[in-house]
């Protein structure tokens, strides 16, 4: 999952990014001013945007209004020190999905972010099951055939994205866009390495396959016969 944080308090943005990477395994981009934030939000397929309201150059509400006008469906969480009911109503009515006031609790922020992403993928249950595989997106616990499976961060990130979209064909471009922030080196062949690692750890046996390759299109998660 890829998240954009638009926040001009450099240190705060960095802390939130760090927390989201560490506890939710999200790929996180940071933008420190409104103009850049709007540009990033419009050019990358984010799964969530954490938006401050008082920003240099372009205000948070303007960014939000612009995004919605352009038809963007990305979940937006407003994170601001403006705490009046009027502000909150205005923020939600401009098109945000959630509103959290500063100072905030990091755990709450992360939980809200995860809830918004679940809703975005239309999977309200934090535990996603595909056949014998079960992924708890809240605690990042993966169990396969009843046994817990420990996955490195990138592999978990890939698996979470694939199971959220279980039953759909996911292209390699989509994987790259949703799993890497813009600081990462995007070598699409690395995706294949992670896919094969996952296949090894999550092998349902010779008769079935969990992660399928759809030739020329991408990957598909779903326990179907080989």
């Amino acid at each position: 999952m890829r998240v954009l944080i638009v926040e001009d308090e450099v240190r705060l943005a960095r802390n939130v990014a760090k927390a989201l990477r560490e506890t939710a395994s999200f790929a996180v981009d940071i933008s420190n001013d409104g103009e850049d934030g709007l540009h990033q939000a419009l050019s990358n397929p984010y799964d969530l945007i954490v938006l401050d309201l008082m920003l240099p150059k372009v205000g948070g509400l303007d960014i939000l209004a612009r995004l919605r006008r352009e038809g963007s469906r990305v979940p937006v969480l407003i994170l601001t020190a403006r705490d009046t009911t009027d502000d909150i109503i205005k923020g939600l009515n401009t098109g945000s999905d959630d509103y959290l006031t500063k100072p905030f609790d990091m755990g709450e922020l992360i939980a809200r972010c995860q809830a918004l992403i679940r809703r975005h993928y239309d999977r309200p249950d934090p535990v996603v099951s595909v056949g014998e595989l079960s992924v708890d997106t809240a605690s990042r616990m993966v169990t396969f055939q009843g046994r817990p499976v420990m996955l490195p961060a990138m592999e978990y990130r890939l698996l979470e994205y694939l199971v959220q979209r279980a039953g759909q064909i996911v292209t390699k471009e989509e994987i790259v866009e949703h799993l890497y922030d813009f600081n990462a080196e995007n070598f699409s062949n690395v995706v294949e390495v992670y896919i094969s690692a996952l296949r090894k750890k999550l092998d349902p046996g010779p008769a079935h396959r969990l992660i399928h390759t759809v030739r020329g299109q991408g990957y598909l998660v779903g326990e179907t016969p080989q």
Binding site: L12, A19, E22, M54, K57, A81, R82, K102, D105
Partner: protein
């Protein structure tokens, strides 16, 4: 004492006014009626009197006169209600008399002559009504003519009962009393209703005003519904409410800004600490987190300091005590304190020596004022630039201190807002530049408290100049 309501006051006033008008009208009507009734009698008396006088002139013979007198007295026009007596001055018996026998008081024309006799050759009307109580049972009115006839002075006295007049007048008087009293009472009863109706626009305006709360100060009242007299009053109230609303809006803005400014560093600190807590970190990471937290706490501390100092400065409005302050020495010292800061930015702060100058004021506040200005100049001026402080003995009674930096990109629209609390050139509240946004507000507050003023000019050629003018000590 309980204040008397306007309604009661006006009711009483209207009632009194009504009473006064009724009184005047009554008196006039009464007098008119009396005069017209008396005029009737007087005309009969005059006609009879003239007839008698003409007879006196025409006939020498006593018997003929008598016959003529009788015919005059007996004529239908006068009737027996007219009395008559004719006599000559100095003689006891009358030349002629008529109707006196029928009179209940036999001698009305002899002994009860009301008033003085007229001059010889004159005539005058006399009335018992003028002299005697109106309730007298038999009031009458007489015409007394005195004229010279040959050698003698002949008196002709013609009289008539004025009982009818006094009766009429009494009735009219009673009528006036009843009608007058009723009208006054009616006025007193109807007046409150009319006054309520008259005061209704005020009551409505009052209801409108009552509906105003601190949240609806700016709601415009409907001017078309208002009576013209109230419009200026309500317009003035609207103006006042607008000013109040503006003041409240500023206050709310200030509180919102202050809340934002206070929350942001707290949010940063909390996020740093909670992120550090997420998992076990290296000592180096912890040290870094502590360092960052201390910086943010310092920033919070500075902000709280500035807020408190602003609150202190705003009340009271004027200086509690004001002493002579050597401005040149104070500036030199303040500039010295900023040397190190300037050097960090490869710049410098210069104070051009000035002659001894004294102002009246609070030394600490003035130091804070110029400290804030220098702090701003260093913060917003270009790196490596020079900040110049000059002290000019502008006029007789004022001195001007200018702080000049080599910046100069502040647009005129922005300059007017620079003294607003929490105003930052960038709409962002980011404290990357480190200022609290209160420095200039505090500086202006201090300048005003000292009876001075502060202004900023900025253009790309000359840079930015902040000038403080203070009254000379």
């Amino acid at each position: 004492m309980k204040p008397v309501s306007i309604r009661l006051r006006l009711s009483l006033l209207i009632s009194l006014l009504t009473l006064a008008i009724i009184l005047v009208v009554s008196v006039v009507a009464y007098v008119e009626l009396e005069e017209s009734l008396l005029r009737n009698i007087d005309e009969i008396l005059r006609a009879t009197g003239e007839g008698i006088v003409a007879t006196l002139d025409e006939h020498e013979d006593a018997a003929a006169r008598e016959a003529e007198f009788r015919s005059i007295m007996g004529s239908g026009s006068s009737g027996d209600s007219v009395w008559c007596r004719i006599w000559v001055d100095g003689r006891e018996e009358s030349l002629f008399s008529s109707g006196l026998a029928n009179h209940p008081r036999r001698e009305p024309l002899l002994d009860l002559l009301p008033g003085e006799a007229p001059e010889v050759g004159e005539s005058s009307f006399l009335s018992t009504a003028d002299e005697i109580d109106r309730d007298e049972e038999h009031p009458y009115r007489v015409l007394w003519i005195r004229r010279v006839q040959g050698q003698e002075v002949v008196n002709v006295l013609v009289g008539r009962s004025s009982h009818y007049v006094s009766h009429e007048l009494t009735e009219f008087y009673q009528l006036l009393l009843i009608v007058g009293a009723s009208l006054t009472l009616l006025a007193f009863l109807v007046a409150p209703v009319l006054i309520s109706w008259g005061l209704r626009p005020i009551a409505q305006a009052g209801a409108q005003l009552q509906a105003i709360t601190h949240k609806s100060l700016k709601q415009q009242r409907e001017p078309s519904e208002m009576t013209p007299e109230l419009k200026p009053f309500m317009a003035a109230l609207d103006d006042m409410l607008d000013r109040l609303d503006e003041a409240m809006r500023q206050q709310e803005q200030f509180i919102a800004d202050a809340a934002h400014e206070l929350r942001t560093p707290v949010a940063v600190i909390k996020s740093t600490l909670q992120t550090a807590q997420l998992q076990r970190r290296t000592v180096g990471e912890y040290e870094e987190n502590i360092e960052e937290t201390l910086q943010d706490v310092g920033r919070l501390e500075h902000l709280i300091e500035q807020l408190l100092s602003l609150a202190r400065l705003e009340t009271p409005d004027t200086l509690r005590e004001s002493l002579d302050v050597r401005l040149d020495a104070l500036l030199s010292e303040t500039v010295g304190a900023f040397d190190a800061r300037a050097a960090q930015r490869n710049g410098r702060v210069v104070f051009s020596e000035a002659p001894p100058t004294t102002v009246k004021g609070d030394e600490n506040e003035l130091r804070q004022l110029f400290g804030n200005l220098l702090d701003n100049a260093l913060r917003h001026g270009p790196r490596g630039g020079t900040v110049r402080v000059t002290l000019a003995n502008g006029t007789e009674d004022r001195v001007t201190v200018s702080v000049h930096d080599e910046g100069g990109q502040i647009s005129p629209d922005t300059v007017v807002h620079l003294f607003d609390r929490f105003y930052r050139v960038d709409s962002s509240r980011s404290q990357a530049s480190g200022g609290s946004g209160l420095g200039l507000a505090i500086a202006r507050e201090i300048a005003h408290r000292h009876g001075g003023d502060i202004e900023i000019t900025s253009n790309p050629q000359a840079g930015t100049v902040v000038s403080v003018s203070l009254p000379r000590g």
